[in-house]
């Protein structure tokens, strides 16, 4: 099995790109791959704790918890999160926070990288 890193820069609310990315992570994990998810820019919205499920907005917290329990690693760009007022104490429990060099290193160490751009 391979190592897959997904870098996603799109926001949780306003489109379904992030939904697609997380479902892609699930599909890869279900096939047995090691999966790493990097969120940057507006994608860091996913790392904010306290998301509530509404039918009119994307809600990915539950699937992220399930994937984290299976070993998917979720990391948010610390600077992008801080710029948006998402501080360490606001971080969703499945997320770690690192600087951008973590993503570049994972790009180097993964078999495949899927870089999914933002708005």
């Amino acid at each position: 099995m391979g190592k897959l890193t997904i870098g996603v820069f799109s926001s949780l609310v306003g489109g379904t790109t992030l939904d697609f990315s997380i479902r892609l992570a699930k599909a890869a994990k279900d096939k047995g791959h090691d999966v790493y998810v990097w969120t940057s820019g507006n994608g860091t919205m996913l790392s904010k704790t306290g998301q509530r499920a509404f039918k009119d907005y994307s809600y990915l917290a539950k699937i992220c918890e399930e994937l984290a329990a299976k070993g998917v690693e979720f990391v948010a760009c610390e600077a992008c999160a801080e710029a948006r007022g998402y501080h360490k104490e606001d971080t969703f429990s499945v997320f770690k926070r690192h600087s951008m060099d973590w993503y570049l290193a994972k790009c180097c160490q993964s078999d495949k990288i899927l870089h999914i751009g933002g708005e």
């Binding site: 820019g41 951008m100 060099d101 973590w102 570049l104 160490q109």
Partner: protein, 137 residues
């Protein structure tokens, strides 16, 4: 396994309107500190390429600091040159927008030895073919 990874940051969006070009610069420059996560022999070698409206990112004399108190992408390209990153700009896309080469950012004031390279798209295409990964911003 030791790996020297070549990445091409392909910037298509204009500055100010989108966060993406700024993220291209900051991610590319993070290659300088990626070694803390890398094994011996591993290295990330980024190149930046401006195409389409992305060429506006490297126009000089941007006044974002004056009007909004923010670093412009001109500052980011100067920093990228200072740390010896290769920055390519598409000649045809500059010409299409009426931007002459003498209007491009210059890192020499910061002490950069590298300069922006204005190249035909065919050269950027060769870079795309030669790189391991292309990241679009």
């Amino acid at each position: 396994m030791a790996r020297k990874l070549k990445q091409l940051y392909l910037v298509q969006r204009p500055p100010i309107k989108s966060e993406n070009p700024k993220l291209a610069y900051t991610h590319a420059m993070a290659s300088q500190t990626a070694e803390i996560y890398l094994e011996d022999g591993e290295e990330v070698i980024p190149t930046l390429a401006m195409v389409g409206d992305g060429v506006y990112n490297v126009v000089n004399n941007q006044q974002l600091m004056k009007h909004y108190g923010l670093n412009s992408n001109e500052n980011h390209v100067q920093m990228a040159l200072l740390i010896d990153l290769k920055v390519l700009v598409c000649k045809e896309d500059l010409e299409a927008r009426g931007i002459s080469a003498d209007r491009l950012a210059d890192g020499s004031a910061l002490g950069a030895d590298m300069t922006i390279e204005v190249v035909p798209f065919s050269e950027i295409q060769k870079e795309m073919e030669a790189t391991d990964q292309i990241l679009c911003f």
